[in-house]
């Protein structure tokens, strides 16, 4: 082996060692900077959340009491005014939302994953639009709901289910995308096993694909719902503006309001009592949100561990 060769071989080995090591190239400090940056972002997000919670807790604590949920909102009895109508309104809207968005979203996901031919232009067009819809600002859905659901063809009026439908449009893309991910994660071998035994496509989907996908679908749906429960802007447009002192009469009759709208109502009033009430409402809403997200994370962890 002559000298030049030896140098080349050594150089090559050294290069490989360096590539594998990373420390000698200044790779380490770049990694450190990046890490610091990531932690910095995380801290910002966390501190913001903490600030909101602390701020709301400190201000709203005096009004975290039973009256908050048992009493109707009132401008006269400021000290004991509650938000029962908003709590019931939120329940109505969310129930209407769930029974609407879950069947539609899951069906759409099944169709796109199991039946649609992904090479057809119209299937790709639908897929693209589902993704785009997920990025549309919620106020646009509010305007849509006002024009087509409250008025227009559906003409439901300003009832709880009009709010449900509007929010359904808003979170439908999220539910579809989450369900598709969950369905896609079901191993092909399971489908083959079932079809190979002479099961029909529907039997296969119903007995194997959906049960395996349920945890993912539930997780995605809960996260979508927790977005919907905090929405204010679109609901302001479809009728949840009124200051109501009674619970909704049903999904299709009677005025309604929801938690974030009620909070908004109070927060803009000058009296201190109402501001405290608003803070108490925020605590309530945050608590519901955290519970929903915890359930979603719990389900996800439970099934990723078992799988």
């Amino acid at each position: 082996m002559n000298g030049a060769n030896r140098v080349a071989v050594a150089g090559a080995r050294r290069t490989t060692e360096l590539r594998l090591d990373g420390s000698g190239r200044g790779g380490r400090w770049k990694g450190e900077v990046f890490r610091a940056l990531l932690i910095f972002c995380l801290v910002i997000a966390f501190v913001t959340l903490l600030a909101v919670i602390v701020q709301a807790s400190v201000r709203g604590m005096p009004r975290i009491d039973l009256n908050l949920i048992t009493q109707m909102p009132s401008t006269l009895d400021r000290e004991t005014s509650g938000m029962q109508s908003a709590i019931f309104g939120t329940i109505y809207v969310m129930v209407g939302l769930i029974v609407t968005v879950v069947p539609i979203g899951v069906s759409a996901a099944i169709f796109l994953e199991e039946f649609a031919d992904g090479t057809k232009w119209w299937v790709r067009f639908i897929e693209l639009n589902v993704q785009n819809l997920a990025a549309v600002p919620s106020i646009v859905f509010g305007i849509l709901g006002l024009a087509f659901i409250v008025r227009g063809p559906l003409d439901l009026g300003t009832v709880a289910y009009a709010g449900s439908l509007t929010l359904a449009l808003l979170v439908l893309p999220t539910v579809i995308l989450a369900s598709r991910e969950a369905i896609r994660a079901v191993p092909t071998s399971l489908r083959q096993a079932s079809l190979g035994l002479g099961a029909t496509k529907w039997q296969t989907i119903w007995h194997h694909v959906l049960p395996s996908a349920v945890p993912g679908i539930v997780t995605g749906t809960i996260l979508a719902l927790s977005r919907a429960i905090g929405e204010t802007a679109p609901l302001l447009l479809v009728g949840a503006t009124v200051f109501v002192t009674y619970n909704p009469d049903g999904f299709f009759e009677g005025a309604y309001t929801v938690l974030p709208v009620q909070i908004f109502q109070w927060a803009v009033r000058p009296q201190e009592e109402f501001r405290i009430l608003a803070a108490a409402g925020i605590i309530l809403l945050l608590a519901v949100l955290l519970v929903m997200n915890s359930i979603a994370i719990w389900i996800r962890n439970k099934y990723t561990r078992d799988a």
């Binding site: 031919d117 090479t119 191993p187 071998s189 399971l190 489908r191 083959q192 096993a193 079932s194 079809l195 190979g196 035994l197 002479g198 099961a199 029909t200 039997q203 007995h207 194997h208 395996s212």
Partner: protein
């Protein structure tokens, strides 16, 4: 690789006819994946109560041919099949034929054991339930199938436990029990032992020889000794590169009694492959 401790002797059928009495047949079978010609002109006959082995190098289309026999290739959107696949003189690719019905007569066992995430009992009972098969007692039927798959003694006390709780070899036998539960005529097995140790492999090979009494079996295997040990007839495939495109199209080189293929092949390519001179 260590030689498996073979518990069963090589047992060719004594009165193996020169030509199979076919339960299934392929005639000029050609398979395409999109524009890719995967398999060219395959003519095979799978004899009544015989085990037929499909061997050949990787990518020569053994699995493709196997999947055509019960129309599992329908699941691949780009796959296109030309020629005929006959099951008792009925073309399974005829427009009037329902692939679901085909798969009820022609069962399949896959390379990787794929039990359902259900109990052992439900795994076996699933096929009869969804196909609406009439059984006098499902308990008896499940027992019969598990016995048929040589698994009963190992699982009889834990039928309610998940199929995943079994070992790999047991899972594969569960899949065989599940496949025979719908009482098919033909059982297709795609490298059923490739993920198993020699002992589990020997158990499955024993099982295949027993199952031959009742079923017509087609098995794909990379294990030459396995083909020699269990099969009555062997089909050797290879892949030939296309001169213009360089795509490797699979074709059938030779199909004969297993003893002939292994001891006295008529094609040089077969001999090279059998004797290990060609990957």
């Amino acid at each position: 690789m260590t030689e498996p401790s073979v518990t069963h002797p090589y047992t060719p059928q004594q009165e193996l006819p020169d030509h199979p009495v076919p339960v299934m047949q392929t005639r000029s079978l050609n398979v395409f994946y999109g524009g890719f010609h995967a398999v060219h002109d395959v003519d095979l006959a799978f004899g009544h109560h015989e085990i037929t082995a499909l061997i050949g190098p990787s990518g020569c289309g053994k699995s493709t041919v196997l999947r055509c026999l019960n129309r599992m290739n329908d699941l691949v959107p780009s796959a296109r099949v030309e020629g005929e696949v006959l099951y008792h003189d009925q073309d399974v690719y005829a427009p009037s034929v329902d692939p679901i019905e085909v798969r009820r007569h022609i069962g399949m066992v896959f390379q990787k054991a794929n039990p359902f995430p259900k109990s052992i009992y439900d795994n076996v009972a699933y096929g009869p339930r969804v196909t609406g098969m009439k059984v006098d007692s499902m308990d008896d039927h499940v027992e019969r199938c598990l016995r048929g798959a040589a698994l009963w003694d190992e699982v009889k006390d834990k039928l309610k436990e998940s199929g995943y709780s079994l070992s790999g070899g047991q899972q594969q036998r569960l899949c065989i029990a599940r496949a025979i539960a719908t009482e098919p005529d033909v059982i297709l097995m795609d490298e059923p032992c490739s993920a198993l140790d020699p002992i589990a492999t020997a158990a499955i090979e024993d099982l295949m020889l027993q199952l031959r009494e009742q079923y017509t079996i087609v098995i794909v295997t990379h294990n030459m000794q396995q083909a020699a040990r269990v099969s009555d007839r062997t089909a050797f495939f290879t892949a030939r590169p296309d001169e213009t495109t360089g795509n490797r199209t699979g074709l059938l080189v030779e199909f004969d009694k297993t003893s002939t293929i292994f001891e006295n092949p008529s094609d040089q390519r077969t001999e090279d492959y059998i004797s290990g001179r060609f990957g």
